[in-house]
Amino acid sequence: MSTKSRLHIPHPSARPGDKPDFSYLNLAPAGSADKPSIDAKPRDIEHLSMNLVRVLDDEHRAQGEWNPNLDPEKLQVGLRWMLLTRVFDERLWQIQRQGKISFYMESKGEEAVSIAQGMALRAGDMCFPSYRNTGLYLYRGTKLVDMMNQCLSNTKDMCKGRQLPVLYHNKEANLFSLSGNLGTQYPHAVGWAMASAIKGEDHIAASWLGDGSTAEADFHHALTFAAVYQAPVILNIVNNQWAISTFQGFAGGERRPFAARGIGLGIPGIRVDGNDFLAVYSATLWAADRARRGGGPTVIEHVTYRGGAHSTSDDPSKYRPKDEWASFPLGDPIERLKKHLIAEGHWSDEQHIEVIEEYRVKVGAAWKEAQKFGTMTDGPFLDPAGMFDDIYAEIPEHLVKQRQQMLELES
């Protein structure tokens, strides 16, 4: 101990030019975590927030109590959706680089979170995603072309040209509208879940945010309300290690895992290998069953890695080693599920390549179709008069007047 106080500035384990170092990650062997019954008392399962729930081992076999024992067909479905997500992201990234959309955010490396959780939840459950849940929008039925129309702000844009690319919504599929402000969706999910309980329904809510956003007040409000009212909600923290340029230590991740954020409130926390499709699925199902049967909220931390840049406006080579993802000990969620299926004799490299090719064609065709409804440079264009709609349930007088002024100036 020193005789003086000390200001601690967190530093990541590696910067550009350094050798990637993930020794700070507290790992555990696959199958080592116990799986409690869903009515376990939070204080008896606190260790799950420090441990790491893993199912897939280094030989790509499923191990332990958390193995959800999914049919190979179901796992193939999961793998396909993850592949579609990645192919979609890659194409949209490229499209942004060609200047055809203004902005894009990819979810590379985090596909298991969206797809495994999408599959573990029910259609009637309400999702309050973050902007890195592309797979969730796809899996729950948003068409490729509709996602692209949104990114183009064209005449078929679900947001009518009002939102940045990626800030989708899908009411029918119970996917809430993405805000762009961080963590604001968390208390909405809790309130939605409270309403479900007030109405006596068995639908639950789920929300997602990143490690960085756990520092927002809304995160803490949501946890408090979820704990107080035992709301049927799953609060997911996708710890992808990086919040733009600040590593997870700047959100307070250096001393305690994010999964333990709810422990002080009596909310069970599960720290799960976010790149292990089986573990993510299993933990989600556990939390969903618990919530649906009156057991209240669960915090799930998904330990993963942001495989790409924060957004198309970001350059991660300026603040982290270029090859950091390749050294990430939990690997790539797609590769891991693929190798598991191959090891079990239910998939092959040839099939894998075929599916990627099939999806590239599919995504390419959707892009062709989307452009027919308008691009940033070529019509048809949205009518700018629409910018005055949907501010109130009915347009008030002053907005009618302003719309008229705008149209006169435009004509």
């Binding site: 009002r162 919504h169 604001t184 909405h188 309130g191 007088e397």
Partner: protein
Amino acid sequence: MAQMNMIEAIRSALDIVMEKDPNVVIMGEDVGYFGGVFRCTDGLQRKYGEHRVIDAPIAEGGIIGATIGMGLNGLRPVAEIQFADYIYPGFDQVVSELARIRYRSAGEFFSPVTIRTPCGGGIRGGQTHSQSPEAIFTHISGIRVVMPSNPYDAKGLLISAIESDDPVVFFEPKRIYNGPFDGDPEKPAVSWASHPKGEVPRGYYTVPLGSADVVEEGSELTIITYGTLVHVAQAAAALVGVNAEIIDVRSLSPLDTTTLTESVKKTGRCLIAHEATRFSGFGAELVATVQEECFFHLEAPIERVAGWDTPYPHAFEWQYFPGQKRLAAGIRKVMEAQ
């Protein structure tokens, strides 16, 4: 008809909408078992149960955020923020979420939350229990801002606010909860019993959002005001002996421009008064609106009377509060201008 003060009128409005619509729920600090620090929800939890009148943790951001979520799931929540001075932790949820959900989802999602919150001073509340932050909210497109000045309007406007599919921030001037206040703290308190607007129907009725009220008709000057100052303006006009038309804005946003401008076109003179601080206050918007619409009818510059641009002081409350003297001076200035 019954005699009600503003608290009873607000409670009656809540009771009626809760009876009528099982989706109406109330959430706020101390609103449940205790019935609210100002008693506006007294008895409602006993009548409607703990699932509909919900005591909340002390987290205004959480209250607003969670009620938004409830609204997204088909409920019609009324959030109470105990003092308007406490609303700021929930400000992002109002600006970035509540006001924008309908717009950003192209009309697919909306959350019809009404936020009730007591505002204004004159109660020895110091700088954290006296603020009038309405202008901060009128600057946001996508929410409605309302401030009644009497029990009749409070009940009718609150029912309209809760039934509206638009989010509403509903400011309740707490100085006039128990009786009208003419700005003179030396006079004994008056109750609503002797005031015509203290006559409130027991049953359901509405006062439409977005409409101003001509409180007193007059010909020499228009006074545009709202909240507690409606009563101060009436007293100040009587003090000066001017035949003033007094308009209670009551719905600040969207604004009933027509009622205001018709009056100023008729009288040719205009005073704007509010309790909130002056700089970038709601009065600035009112002045601009009147100037744009009535310039060629004006016989004198528009005058503004408002709270000083200081925090609301505890010991100097009556030097801060725009009382009869300040309003009377403003009236004389407008009347004397050639």
